[in-house]
Structure formats: C-alpha cells, structure tokens
Symmetry: C2
C-alpha cells in the first residue's frame, strides 16, 4: 500500500491550507490543466465530463419550461455595447478587445462577449413584431471572457463556460415571475443534483448586475465557511428594450416595450462541488453529475475468472449507472486512492473470495462504509447507496452551514464574529450604501444577499442605528 | 388558401436563382438572422435545434470510438501560433487579433482560435509522459473565427460552430488509421443520417490543410451541381510534435515524438442539407436531424373533439418521434405552407371526418404523397414513412450526382464540359501543381479530391500529356 500512501500524501490536508488543497484537487483529479494563455484553463476530459452532465441536466430543465437554445455572435461592436449606459460602465473595463481582423485595422472595435444582453436585444429588435411573439425565452451555452486580474480554476478565470438565458415578456409581472422561477430552478438543481444547500435572495443595489433593476442570487457555503455566488437571475424592467428600441404591437395595437430577464450559471458550479464536498482524500462527486458513478476494481485480477466477473458486473450495472472497470496494471491500493481522488461515489471490489460467495464489496466514497452485496441484489443496492451518499453530502453541507451561521444586532458583535471563523452573519440593515461599505471596512464582510426568507432580528441597523428595512446575510466570498 | 400562396410566393424558385433561393430559405425557415457584426450570423431556435441533433448524433459516434471531450482556450498567443511554420502562414492572414485586455495593451497579441492544433500540442506536451498514455483521443465542440471577406450563412462566415478532433498516437500507422476512420465516420454520418451521398478521397497538395502531411475530405454535390466540402480529416505525421516538443518515453525507454491527427465538421453541414434536399416549397429535413419529425395539423379545429384528438395523437407519437401540434389560430393552408417551408418530414392531418373513421392523413414532405392511416397503425406507419422519405432523399441526391458526373480525357473535353452544367468532371492527373492551376485557369475548376475509389480513364494527364498518376474529381465549389 506504499503507492497508495504516496498518492494521498501528495495532497495538502484540507484544514491545513484550503487554497492549496483546492488547487491540488483541480490538478490531481485531472479536472484542469493550466494553459500558456494567462488566466485561461483547459478542461481535461474528467473535468469536462462533469460539465457535460451539468449541461445535460440543466438543459433538460430549461427545455421542460419552454426555453429554446440559440447561438449568438462571439464578438460585440463597441457601439452596440455602449447603448445601455450602466451596462457598458460595468463591463467595459474588463473586456478583451479585437482591434484587427486579418491585416485590417477595425474602425469599430469588437469586444469578446463578457455576457450577451446587448446581442440579444439587437436580435429581439429584428424578430419581435407582435404580442403574439411573446414571451421569447432563449438560452445559449457558450464561453465568455472577462479580463480578471487574479484567477483560479473554476472560481475566476479570464474565460469560462456558462449558460446565459435571455427572455422578453409582455408585462413586468411575467418577467419578474420568470426571474424568480429561474432562480428557483438553479436552487433546486444545486440542492437535488449537486447536493449543495443554497441561500436564495435579492442582491443589494451595490452588488447587482450592471444594467439590471434587480439581481437575485443563490449563495453556497464552502467547507471553509466562505460563500460562493453560484447562480444569478436578473430583472431588467424595460431599460434595455428602450435603449435598443425593442418594441412590439400590443393587444391594444399601440407600440410597447417588452420586459426582460437574464440568468446565468457557469463552470463555477464545479468549484462549488469541490469546495463543498471534498475531503483529504480528494474530490467527492454528487452521483447525478459524476462521470463514473461506480468504479469496479478487480482484486487479485490475475486469478482465473476475476476479470471476467468484473466485466460481467460492469455490463449488469451499465443498464442503470455510469460504470467503469479499472483493468490497468496498477495495484488495487493505488487504484483505490486514484478513484477516491477523482471522487467516484461508489467502489465495487470483486476478488476470488467474493466470487465463491457470489457477492462483491461496495465502498462509499463519503463514509468509506463497506457493504457486502450479493450479485442479484446490485440493482437495488447500488441506487440505494448512491441515494444515501447524495443525502449525506447534502446533510453534511447543511450542517456545516448551520454551524457557521450567526446573528448579530450590534456592530461590536459583528466585528467579534467576523474576527473568528468564516461563515454567514445575519443582521438587519437600513438599506444605505454607507452602512454596507462600513461592514466591508470594519469587518471585511460583503453582503451575500437579502434572503427571501426574512427574519426580524432587531428594529435597527447595527451600523447606523436607523430603522432597519431588511435582513441581510453577510460573509466573505470567493 | 390565399395566405398559403402568398407565403410560398415569397421564396425565389430554386431553378431561377439558386443563390437567392438559398438565402430565402435560411431566413424564411427561421434558421438564422443576420447580426450587427458583419459576417457573423445568429442561429435561431430552429436552426440551432438542427445543430443540436447533429451534435448529439456525432458526439455519440465519437464517444463510441473512445474519444473524450475537452475544452481549450478561445485565444492563442501569437508566439504559440508561430511555432509551426506552414500552419501560421496558412492561418495568420485570416485571424482576428485581440490586442487589449481591459485597458491594458497586450505584449503578445492573442488571436481568436481559427482552429486549435497549437493549443492541443501545447497541452499534449504537458500531459503526455509514456507510451502508456497513448493514444490520446480528444474532441471539442466550440466556435472558431476566420476573417473571411465574403460570407454566406452556414457556408462561409467569420464565426462558425464546429467540432475539432485532435489525437496523438504511438505510431504513424495508428495515426493514419485514425485519420481514415474518422473520415469514414463523417461519410457514414452524412449518408445514413443526413441522406447525403459523399465522395471520399485525398486532397491534393495545393488544397491540403496548412501544416498537414495529408488531408482527406468528403465532398457533397449540391442541387445546382456545385460541390461542398463537408468534412476533413488530417494526418500530421510528427511535424507538430517536433515543433511543440511533444514527447513520450517509448516501449524501449527512448524519447519519441507521437503522430498526430485532427478532423473537423461544422454547421456547414446545415448548408449541405438545405442545398441537397430543398425544393421550391422550402427546406426538406432528413428525419434523423429534424427538430420536429411529425407536425400535427388539426383540421376544422373548432369542431368538438378535434383538438383533443390531435393532442391524444401527439402523446401517442411522442413515445417514438419528435412531434408537435400546431394549435395556432392560422388556417390549415397557412400551416401546411409554413411547415413545408420548415422542412418537417411528415404532416399529420386530423379532422372530424377522420375521427369518424378512426384514422388520420399522413403527408410526406418530399413527394407530398398522402396516406390514410388508422390510429392503431401509427406506430408502424410513421417510422416506415420516415424511413422511406430518408431513402428517397438519398436516392434523389445520388441520382442528381450521377447525372452530373462526367469523365474527360482531353483538355478540350474538360473545357466543353465545364462550360455546360455544373458537376463533377473526372480526369487523370500527372500530379503537377502547374496542371492543377491550368484546370482553374482554362476551365474554372478546382480539384475536389483524389477519390479512394480510383478508376483508370486513360494513361496521360489531359493538361500536359505526361504519364498520369491518379484520378482526380474536379468541380466548382462553395
């Protein structure tokens, strides 16, 4: 087992240096490789396969609620980007500019899309005619570029993969309902499929998307108590429609401006999975998105019949799970460590002694619990174990979050809590930007969101003592 | 039926102006919209849904043969692009250059990928260690940018969606086998799923990919007799490996350079579908990639029970085909024309008289043939009709190609044929570039490829009279 040990030693322990542990997992689980292009990462087959599963599940949800996929241009003319004032101010400082096509200097510079509201509006203006065309509910899967200064795989990089939904509606009510529905969709996906509990709420004015009337977010708490914004949904009112001249003939035959939404989630979700569920042995993948849900490791593979049985069990399992036999030359110990590093939810071991008893050994990645299971019981045992693992992942994450969530009613309490372990600090708030900035200055905290589920913790804002308007969850964030 | 007529009149007849007919279909079947960015098109929901079906089918083929998907950066540093001399010469004149990130001027310009050989090589150099890691068989689905001067939707645009496969192998033989296998895969996909017969062969030196040792192509003949290169597969030898320092420890423990391939197919395939199968009524989609395979049009929809029956039949059909009910307010005639324009393979009509007889009417898009089918026979009748339609599409295309394929043994014959209708002209060839250029000059023809299935038409090259080395198929191409 020396090889096994060696492999495990190569990861930094999670509670020693969380940042280094994270980087170690990204590389050793073969999720990414750094590229020659600063701030751009390569998604390797195992990392991309997780993203494929995420895309597949989310896409099915979007289609089931009547959204259609499209493909918009990669590049946005500067003149188009400038049409909505707040939007260009928010994004212009962080875009990449194409200034030459072939050998010709471009008159109107083109930016590589950081997001595509402007392109969608331009298209809506062409194709929207009457209220009968509404709603238009579009989505696209693509990559976007934002010229970040400091980058980390999945969390913040100059290019990232994502989906961006863009919809227009006849009334403000319908658009607001869409904004909320898509946030609920993200939350449900994170909780059911990724086993990550999330906090749903509205962003403050300071933290909202450039050009939006309102931004909603889901926030996930990582193992170290820091927050990760994991999906956002924006309501634009008719601001972009007016800026881009998007109009339709209404039911009363007058020209009207539609109401708009957009919503996005990205490969950041893979960062959330790593930092929510991982441990000292490596990644732990939620079964719904694991590229391999069960890895079969033959024990004493040279003994007659072992490899054949492993293959036979693979065929049996392939009918209902994603399964792989590791038939390589490595020792079983090395394989155990390798597949634990890669976060495969269940390991199935089968050797000569098991064959005698017509059984195999199933080992859960999260608890390392072993079960001896008869071959003819695998069809019920495997899904049941995967299900139990998913529930446990969710439960552990919810427990970590509960343990790290505190309330405070005075600035003094806030500062004391913020000086301790990372986590969520709930307080009331008057709604003033000055107080939000004070939280950053005095306690190093930023507002995560104003949760939909509000509580009344006190009557006044802990910063200024003025009457409180809303409860805010504060934290440190990635 | 006046609306019906009006809609159909809006398309240019196919034999009057093929170019305008093509553009009309792209727009009226709602496949694309032009964007504000010159040379960039928007894929609208219906166009993108065809691409999704193509991706789904091709991706399954790639995975079944052991290829894995990855994601590479969008941008390539100029210094990296320059490492392989022929490659940079071929692509540098037609790339878009990013020269600024945020407000900072970049020292090393970045080009938007026109293709990703250089990025894959850079990555292979990081992750390849031993012959045990080989082969590495990767693919990515993405968009690429080439700064074309004249553009047309699907055929030639500044940005297009595609897949690019990139593999490295231990030996030249294995890499060549992969190059050929992937070409066969493309050919099989085009013929079985898109119902398009293709010509498989090797490109001449003049027409091969920048940096490749050999390029293979599949060529499809359009309705007007012009050729469309519809997929290419390249063998690189170890040229890129040497240029990028990609090495592995071989079986004999010496450092060796792997042998490389790449292969790509793009949204151009949608152009091929339009121009191979379409007619005066619009698009005709091969069933395998049609977003809607059967459209149900209720007749006399206001009569009691009609809409309910349409919905009931939809549910029944949804188990085995992609089906939609058109329950809109438009007249049946308008709907017939609309769904013919969009190329839906089968139309199902159901009205009060059909309900009395427990039947419905099925109308094929290709032949407009009507069948009266009992409800309980739909499960066999619908797949049989789709299958017959697919076979007929293939047959018609093969017939057009046969009718437009000629052989010539003298330059005089070549010129006479080239002055007539478009099509393929087969001749022998000595292999000299000068003669290839003469074919362009004197007859306006370019070499499509040197077919795998060679014939011996004569002993000498029709251009120079020197001994012939190979048979070439010439034509005019998109």
């Amino acid at each position: 087992m020396s090889e096994n040990k060696k492999l495990v030693e190569a990861i930094t322990p999670i509670n020693e240096d969380f940042t280094q542990w994270y980087t170690d997992i990204c590389l050793k689980a073969e999720l990414v490789d750094y590229s020659t292009v600063k701030g751009f990462v390569i998604l390797r087959p195992y990392g991309y396969a997780i993203w494929e599963n995420i895309m597949h599940l989310m896409d099915a949800r979007f289609k089931a609620t009547g959204h259609e996929n499209v493909s918009m241009p990669l590049l946005i003319p500067e003149s188009l980007l400038q049409k909505e004032k707040d939007h260009v101010e928010g994004f212009a400082p962080e875009v990449a500019w194409v200034t030459m096509g072939g050998s010709e200097q471009l008159e109107d510079r083109l930016c590589v899309r950081p997001t595509s509201e402007t392109l969608f509006c331009d298209h809506f203006a062409h194709v929207l005619h009457s209220y009968r065309d509404l709603p238009m509910k579009y989505n696209q899967w693509c990559s976007v570029v934002r010229w970040e200064k400091t980058t980390r795989p999945f969390l913040r990089s100059r290019e990232f993969l994502w989906q961006e939904g863009h919809t227009i509606h006849e009334t403000a009510e319908e658009a607001i309902a869409e904004t909320e529905r898509q946030l609920e969709e993200y939350a449900d996906f994170c909780e059911k499929d990724l086993c990550i509990p999330v906090l749903k709420g509205k962003k403050t004015e300071k933290e909202k998307f450039a050009g939006a009337e309102a931004t909603y977010s889901i926030e996930a708490m990582m193992h170290d108590g820091k927050a990760l914004q994991s999906g956002t949904s924006h309501y634009f009112g008719d601001g972009f429609s007016r800026a881009f001249g998007v109009q339709f003939a209404g039911r009363d035959n007058t020209l009207q401006y539609p109401f708009q939404t957009s919503w996005g989630a990205s490969t950041r979700l893979i960062g959330a999975i790593i930092m929510t569920h991982g441990d000292d042995e490596g990644l732990i993948l939620p079964p719904a998105v694991a590229p391999i849900q069960v890895v079969i490791v033959p024990v004493a593979a040279h003994k007659p019949g072992v490899l054949e049985k492993a293959e036979e069990l693979r065929e049996k399992l392939a009918k209902f799970v994603r399964v792989k036999v590791d038939g390589s030359d490595n020792s079983p110990g090395w394989k155990f460590a390798q597949w634990e590093m890669k976060g495969v939810p269940l390991r199935l071991e089968v050797g000569p002694k098991d064959i005698e008893k017509e059984q195999c050994v199933l080992v859960r990645r999260d608890t390392r619990e072993k079960s001896f299971v008869k071959w003819d019981e695998l069809e019920t045992a495997v899904p049941a174990l995967l299900d139990a693992l998913a529930k446990n992942l969710y439960g552990r994450a919810a427990e970590n979050r509960a343990k790290r969530t505190w309330t405070a009613t005075t600035m003094d309490e806030v500062q004391k809590l913020a000086a301790g372990e990372n986590g969520y600090i709930k307080t009331m708030w008057c709604g003033d930007l000055a107080c939000e900035e004070m939280m950053k200055e005095k306690a190093g905290l930023t507002s995560r969101n104003m949760p939909f589920e509000q509580e009344k913790l006190s009557d006044v804002c802990p910063c200024c003592g003025k009457p409180a308007r809303t409860m805010v969850v504060w934290g440190k964030a990635y």
